[in-house]
Symmetry: C2
Subunit: 135 residues, 2 copies
DNA sequence: TGTGGGGTCTCCCATCATGGGAGGGTCAAG
DNA sequence: CTTGACCCTCCCATGATGGGAGACCCCACA
């Protein structure tokens, strides 16, 4: 079934994770590929699965420290789903907070831009605001 | 009217910009404070105004390279407001795009979490999804 | 046997904005 | 003269990612 272990280039193509990142994930301890005699890394099915897992988690913007815990939970056959859910919901809250902040800043700036005629004249409420004029 | 130039500590307290950042802004050429004989930086009213300007622009999440151009436009008494407006609207678009992406990722994850019972059992659709099960 | 080319290795540097900290100079008050 | 507050420069770290140098490995082909 599972083909023999592959090199980093093939692992990268198979999982969509760049070689740079694969090495980085190993450096921070998310991954432990075997080595062959010449020092080349070998990726067997479990390592490829971990790389896919990491990529999907990154697609969901989980920070690598969260992913470290998710991988541990994933490997723990007896884990409680509650902990995964807690982690995910905390992450959702963080993402939504960031999104809210960005949108709110965008709204403020849009408001300013709406009052800027934006022609050849130098008058500009945007610059006035940045300068800090109180009126 | 304007008090004499102040040191970096006072400038920091007066503008809400950390000393670290004040020095950094100078290092990248946003600021050109004079120095006194002993090498200490001196901030007079124009520099303090620039620091306030930068802080307000950072509050609006403008990247420093944008701020560099905004400062130039601000100093250019004859500038056209159109360019400031263009810069601001491009920034708004970038902010809104980021906010959209974050919110969309958050929504995906919320959807997954909604289907995770989150109790002591190990079954977890979140991990299943990360693992890459297609159904 | 030699060479070319593609793959891999490690190590350093850059991003972006920000902060921590070391090691040392300056200055005024006690 | 010491103490303490302030300032200086330089290096390092963050988080995730990529670029690139210099060297090694290996296979195929002439």
């Amino acid at each position: 079934m599972s083909r023999p272990a592959v090199t980093i280039g093939e692992a990268s193509r198979a999982t969509g994770v760049s070689e740079k990142m694969i090495r980085h994930y190993e450096a921070i301890g998310l991954l432990h590929p075997a080595r062959q005699a010449n020092g080349y890394r070998r990726y067997a099915e479990p390592e490829l699965a971990a790389l896919r897992f990491i990529r999907h988690a990154r697609d969901l913007a989980f920070p690598l420290e969260d992913i470290r815990r998710l991988l541990a939970l994933w490997h723990d056959r007896g884990r409680a789903s509650a902990e995964v859910r807690r982690l995910a919901l905390a992450h959702v809250a963080a993402l939504e907070e960031k999104a809210r902040v960005l949108q709110s800043v965008a709204n403020s700036l849009k408001h300013l831009a709406a009052h800027c005629h934006g022609d050849a004249r130098p008058d500009c409420p945007i610059l006035d605001e940045l300068e800090g004029r109180q009126g």
